[in-house]
C-alpha cells in the first residue's frame, strides 16, 4: 500500500522473528505478571482460610494484591467475567449494596450466580466497613463465602496464565498474537489502560468538577484505601514499564514515577487525604489534581516515547466510551 509502506517496512525490520520470544515480553511475564498473579492467589487464600470473619488485615492484603494486577485486564481475567467478579467499581448506581442485600436475603442465590456487584473486594469492603452491614444476619457467612469465591477466581486466573496464556505471548504467531508486536501492544496497552483508569476513575471520579467535587464516590473510601490504591498502582506500573522498556538508562521513567510518588505523599500528609475527602475543599483538591497531572505526564511520556520506541500504536481500551 502506498500510504504507510515505509512505516510497515520499518516495523518489519525492527520486529524480531517470532521463533524466539521478545526478551521484554519474557521479562514482563516472569518478573511481573506471573509472580503478581501468584501473590493474588496466596493473599486470597489467606483471606479464604481465615478462622473468623474479623478479616480486615487479610482483606487489606488481598485487595492490595488485586490492585497490583488490576491493569492486566486481558486474557485469563476476562474469561467468565473473572476480573469483574473480583472488582466492580465505579458503581454509579449503588449496585453493590443492593446486590449484597439480595445475597443476605433468605432465598439468596449461589454466590457465583449473583450479580458481579455483590462479589469481590469492593463488596467485601461494604461488609467489613459499612455501618449498614455491621451486624446484619448472615454477615459472617457471606464474608467467608465471598472470600472463597475470590480465591477460586484468583486460582482460575493464575492457572490459565500458567497453563497456556503466557505461552501465547511468548511464542507469537498464533491466533491471539500474530507477532511479537501484537504481544508488546497488549502489554503496553495494559500500562496505559492502568494509568488512564487511575487518572479518570480512581482520581477523576471523586474529583468531579471544581464546582461539584464527589468525595463520597471515592474508591474504597469506607476503608480509607483510596490513596493507597493509587500508590499500589504506581508501584506496580513502574515495575512493568521498566521491564517493558528493557531498562531506563537515562532514568527518565524512574524520575516520572518519583514525581508522581512525591505528589502522592503530599496528598497523604493531609488529614482526609487517605480517603480523598479533601477534594471537597479547594486546597485539598488542588493537591489531588497535582497528583493526577503527574500521572497524566507519565501517560504522555509513554505515548510520545515508549510506544514509538517499541513500535506499538495507541489502541482501544475498555474505558473508551462514556
Amino acid at each position: 500500500m502506498k500510504f504507510a509502506f515505509p512505516v510497515l517496512l520499518a516495523t518489519t525490520l525492527l520486529t524480531p522473528f517470532a521463533v524466539f520470544a521478545d526478551p521484554r515480553v519474557d521479562a514482563v511475564l516472569d518478573q511481573h505478571v506471573l509472580p503478581r498473579f501468584h501473590a493474588l492467589t496466596d493473599a486470597t487464600a489467606a483471606l479464604a482460610n481465615a478462622e473468623d470473619c474479623d478479616v480486615v488485615a487479610e482483606w487489606d492484603a488481598a485487595t492490595e494484591a488485586w490492585i497490583a494486577v488490576s491493569h492486566l485486564r486481558f486474557g485469563p481475567t476476562e474469561v467468565d467475567n473473572r476480573a469483574f467478579s473480583l472488582a466492580f467499581w465505579p458503581d454509579p448506581r449503588g449496585s453493590t449494596p443492593s446486590a449484597l442485600t439480595t445475597l443476605l436475603s433468605d432465598d439468596a442465590p449461589a454466590i457465583a450466580d449473583v450479580s458481579i456487584a455483590g462479589r469481590g473486594f469492593y463488596a467485601l469492603e461494604y461488609l467489613l466497613f459499612d455501618d449498614a452491614f455491621s451486624d446484619v444476619d448472615g454477615r459472617c457467612d457471606l464474608i467467608a463465602g465471598l472470600a472463597k469465591d475470590a480465591n477460586a477466581t484468583a486460582q482460575a486466573i493464575e492457572a490459565d496464565w500458567i497453563d497456556h496464556y503466557a505461552d501465547l505471548l511468548r511464542t507469537t504467531g498464533n491466533d491471539t498474537y500474530r507477532d511479537d508486536t501484537e504481544a508488546l501492544q497488549q502489554l503496553y496497552g495494559a500500562i496505559t489502560g492502568g494509568l488512564d483508569f487511575a487518572v479518570t476513575k480512581r482520581l477523576g471520579v471523586p474529583m468531579g468538577t471544581f464546582e461539584r467535587p464527589r468525595p463520597r464516590l471515592a474508591e474504597m473510601r469506607r476503608s480509607g484505601r483510596s490513596l493507597d490504591n493509587v500508590a499500589v498502582v504506581l508501584e506496580s506500573l513502574e515495575e512493568m514499564t521498566l521491564l517493558l522498556a528493557g531498562g531506563d538508562s537515562d532514568g527518565v521513567i524512574a524520575d516520572q514515577f518519583a514525581a508522581a510518588r512525591l505528589a502522592l505523599d503530599n496528598v497523604g500528609e493531609i488529614e482526609g487525604g487517605a480517603d480523598f475527602s479533601i477534594v471537597a475543599d479547594t486546597s485539598g483538591r488542588f493537591k489531588v489534581e497535582v497528583l493526577q497531572n503527574r500521572i497524566s505526564e507519565i501517560r504522555t511520556y509513554l505515548s510520545e516515547e515508549l510506544g514509538p520506541q517499541i513500535g506499538v500504536i495507541e489502541g482501544f481500551n475498555a474505558d473508551d466510551g462514556d
Binding site: M1, K2, F3, A4, F5, P6, V7, L8, A10, T11, N81, F84, S85, F88, P92, R93, G94, S95, A99, P109, D113, V114, S115, I116, A117, R178, T181, Q185, D196, V199, T200, G208, T209, E211, R212, R214, R216, L217, S296, E297, R299, T300, S303, E304, P308, V312, I313, E314, G315, F316, N317, A318, D319, D320, G321, D322
Partner: protein, 419 residues
C-alpha cells in the same frame, strides 16, 4: 501529542498523490453517510413530533400507540449514526443532549416505590419535576412553573452536574411515552396509561398538562438538535470540514469511531455490564424494551462506514469509495478479515434481535442464571471485541494512531486528552 504522531507519520510516509485522493474519496463517502443518517434521524423525529402534538391535542390510546411507533422508527436511523460519535468532537460534545443514558427517571416524573430514593451519586434521583413547579437545586431556588425546551436544556439537564440526570433526548421521551418497566425480568415494556396525558378529571397520576409540556419540550428540542447536526455534515458544515481537512486525521476519525463504539461503549458499558449485573434497568432502552434494536443498529452503523454504504429510510442507498477499498489496496487479507468479523457481529446481533422479537425479551436474557440469554448477549459482546482487534490491526497497518478516549479533543488541543 497525537498531532505530533500524526505529523510524524505523514512526513515518513509521504503518500503518493493518488493514494491521497483515494483517502479523500473515502472521507467524502463517510461524510455523506453521516449527513444522510442525521437527515433520516431528523425526518423520523419530525414524524415523532407530529405524533406527540396529536397525542397532546387529542389524548387517546391510539394516539399514544402512534407516538410510540414513531419513536421506535426514529431509533432505526439514529442508532446507525452512533458510529460518528467517538472521534468527531462536534458529535461527541452534542450527543449527551440527544441520547444520554442511563437516566434516573425519577428526576422527571413519578416512579414506583421500589425505585428507591436519592443515592450517593445523585441527590435528585427522585426530584419529579413534573409534580414540582418549585424546587431547590444545589441550594438554589428553581422556578419550573413553565416546562419549556429552554428550561429542560438549560436548567434541568445534568442537574447538579450528575450525568444520570438526563432531562432531554430520546430516552427521556421514551420514559414519557412508556413509563417505567415494572415487569422485572419478565416479558413486557413500560405500561404508561394514555390517561397520563388526559385533560381534566380523566387525568391519571396528576399534572397531565405539565407532563404534556415536558413531552412537547423534549421532542421539540430533539428535532432542533438534529437539525443542527444535519447542518454540521452538509456541504460547508464544520463536522464535514473537520473530517476532510486531513487525510490521516480523517481515516483516524473513522477507525476511532468504529473501535470505541464497538468495544468500550456497546460491548462494555451497554451489553456486558448489563449481563454481569443482571439488572433490567441496565437495558439501553429499558422503558420501551427496544434494546435489541439499539445494539443491532449500532453494529450496522459500524459496518456501514466500513463498507461505505448506507441504506436510507426511503430505501435509497448512499455509497461511494469505502474504507474497505482503502484497506484492501494495502492488505487484501486484512480487509477480508475485517469484513468477515463485521458480518459475524451482525449475525450475533441478529440472533439477539430475532430472539427478542420472537418473545425472549432482552430483560429476560439478563436474568441471573438464564444461560441462553447470557450466551446470546455475550455472543454479541465477544464479536464486538473481536472486531475491535481487527480495527486495531488496520490502525497499525495504515500507520496511524487511535485518537484517545476524548480523542476528538486532541484534534483541537493535543494536551486536552490528559487534562
Amino acid at each position: 501529542m497525537k498531532n505530533f504522531l500524526l505529523t510524524t507519520t505523514l512526513c515518513v510516509t509521504a503518500p503518493a498523490v493518488f493514494a491521497e485522493t483515494h483517502a479523500a474519496d473515502v472521507l467524502t463517502t463517510y461524510s455523506n453517510i453521516a449527513e444522510a443518517g442525521y437527515q433520516d434521524s431528523l425526518t423520523t423525529a419530525q414524524t415523532l413530533q407530529a405524533a406527540v402534538d396529536a397525542l397532546i391535542a387529542d389524548p387517546s390510546e391510539a394516539n399514544l400507540t402512534a407516538a410510540k411507533a414513531a419513536w421506535l422508527s426514529a431509533r432505526v436511523p439514529y442508532q446507525q449514526t452512533e458510529v460518528f460519535r467517538f472521534g468527531n468532537a462536534i458529535v461527541d460534545d452534542w450527543e449527551g443532549k440527544v441520547n444520554a443514558w442511563p437516566l434516573d427517571e425519577g428526576l422527571i416524573d413519578y416512579v414506583d416505590a421500589s425505585y428507591g430514593g436519592p443515592t450517593d451519586g445523585n441527590e435528585y434521583a427522585v426530584l419529579n419535576v413534573i409534580a414540582n413547579p418549585m424546587f431547590k437545586l444545589s441550594g438554589e431556588d428553581i422556578d419550573a412553573s413553565e416546562i419549556t425546551s429552554d428550561f429542560l436544556e438549560g436548567q434541568l439537564h445534568e442537574a447538579d452536574g450528575v450525568e444520570a440526570n438526563v432531562a432531554t433526548g430520546y430516552h427521556a421521551i421514551e420514559f414519557l411515552l412508556w413509563g417505567q418497566d415494572l415487569n422485572g425480568h419478565s416479558a413486557g415494556a413500560g405500561n404508561r396509561p394514555w390517561t397520563d396525558y388526559a385533560a381534566g378529571e380523566d387525568c391519571t397520576n396528576g399534572n397531565c398538562d405539565r407532563r404534556a409540556d415536558y413531552l412537547k419540550g423534549a421532542t421539540d428540542l430533539l428535532v432542533g438538535d438534529l437539525e443542527w447536526m444535519v447542518g454540521q455534515w452538509s456541504e460547508g458544515g464544520e463536522a464535514r470540514a473537520a473530517v476532510l481537512a486531513d487525510d490521516n486525521t480523517g481515516i483516524s476519525i473513522i477507525l476511532t469511531g468504529m473501535g470505541s463504539l464497538s468495544y468500550g461503549e456497546v460491548a462494555g458499558e451497554r451489553m456486558r455490564l448489563g449481563v454481569m449485573l443482571n439488572d433490567p434497568e441496565e437495558e439501553h432502552s429499558c422503558f420501551a424494551d427496544n434494546t435489541h434494536n439499539d445494539h443491532f443498529y449500532d453494529g450496522l452503523g459500524v459496518q456501514n462506514v466500513y463498507l461505505g454504504s448506507y441504506t436510507r429510510i426511503d430505501g435509497s442507498v448512499v455509497s461511494g469509495a469505502s474504507l474497505a477499498d482503502f484497506v484492501a489496496v494495502q492488505d487484501v487479507a486484512l480487509d477480508g478479515e475485517m469484513q468477515t468479523k463485521l458480518s459475524a457481529t451482525m449475525r450475533e446481533l441478529g440472533d439477539i434481535k430475532h430472539a427478542a422479537e420472537a418473545g425472549f425479551s432482552y430483560d429476560m436474557m439478563l436474568e441471573a442464571g438464564n444461560a441462553s440469554g447470557e450466551d446470546l448477549i455475550m455472543g454479541g459482546v465477544n464479536a464486538f471485541i473481536d472486531q475491535t482487534r481487527t480495527i486495531e490491526r488496520i490502525v497499525a497497518a495504515v500507520g496511524l494512531d487511535v485518537l484517545g478516549i476524548e480523542g476528538s479533543d486532541s484534534l483541537d488541543d493535543p494536551d486536552a486528552v490528559f487534562q
